[in-house]
Symmetry: C2
Subunit: 156 residues, 2 copies
DNA sequence: AGTGAAAAGGCTTTAAC
DNA sequence: GTTAAAGCCTTTTCACT
């Protein structure tokens, strides 16, 4: 799908506030509300916009720490990789899971209550998944940037 | 701030669709729209809800690959760490940046157009930041889980 | 605390340019 | 592909439980 500068501008507004009204979006991008609405519906239908979500403060939910875990598996068969991914997806504390190239097989980011909760999670959840060989963790000391796609560049 | 099961249920609905109407939210959680509205405003004011954002398909924007980069710095002084973080935050392709404990100093996730774009980004952007010593990259082969906070557990 | 109704405002559609 | 206007649905307020 071809996105012009108005589409990108609309996405940028929605990225900052997904509940912005069509009037506000229109004012921000220099259009009236109707074309904005049409463009949004078009992007939703085309799968450019996958959905709208809320940004929740992890600490408010009791998750005081973020841990990044690197995992290697016993086998690299498609079945093992798939099964491991499915098991990870079922753990709510697992925020992100990526199958990666290189020294490790999976990169995972988890939200934990505290260090004891981290230890429990590793022992009772992660190491109970069949196929896991080894893991290596690092605690996040500071978060510097939120996850937002760049809306300038390749298609801008 | 104390969150009860209704608050968590509301967050869950918003996490799946941040543009859900108050009526739909109310129906889903078993309340009328007014208390839902009050609870949402309260959570916004308390910083539990940090904002609402849109989930955009990276491929639609021309970003076909995701790369995870681990970085070590020359110095671990507060100034170097801070300056590096500031420079990272200014690169739109950098989706996430975490200051971490362990073997590496920064963990970064970047969106790239293709392998050439990755090479360009590394050379022209990342390695031009003062203080960088070494980096190690791995390409994401498959993304298994989206970033969503678990809404059961510690406070549920 | 929650409910339900009423007012104010925004969303969605139709039609015209 | 854009603007303007009409009807409808949602948000927001208020009175009551």
């Amino acid at each position: 799908m071809n996105l012009d500068k108005f589409d990108l501008a609309i996405l940028k507004v929605l990225q900052e506030n997904a509940r912005a009204s069509l009037n506000d979006i229109g004012t921000a991008v220099g259009l009236s509300s109707t074309p904005c609405w049409n463009r949004i519906k078009r992007m939703e239908a085309a799968g450019v916009i996958r959905g709208y979500t809320v940004d929740i403060d992890p600490a408010s939910l009791g998750f005081m720490d973020t841990v990044i875990v690197h995992v290697t598996l016993e086998s690299h068969s498609e079945e093992t990789l798939y099964e491991f991914g499915r098991a990870l997806a079922a753990i709510p504390e697992v925020l992100e899971a990526f199958l990666v190239s290189g020294d490790y097989d999976y990169y995972i980011r988890i939200a934990v209550r505290d260090t004891r909760d981290y230890e429990r999670l590793l022992r009772e959840q992660l190491y109970r998944i069949p196929g896991i060989r080894h893991s290596k963790s690092c605690f996040v000391l500071r978060r510097l940037k939120e996850t937002m796609l760049p809306l300038t560049g390749p298609v801008g």
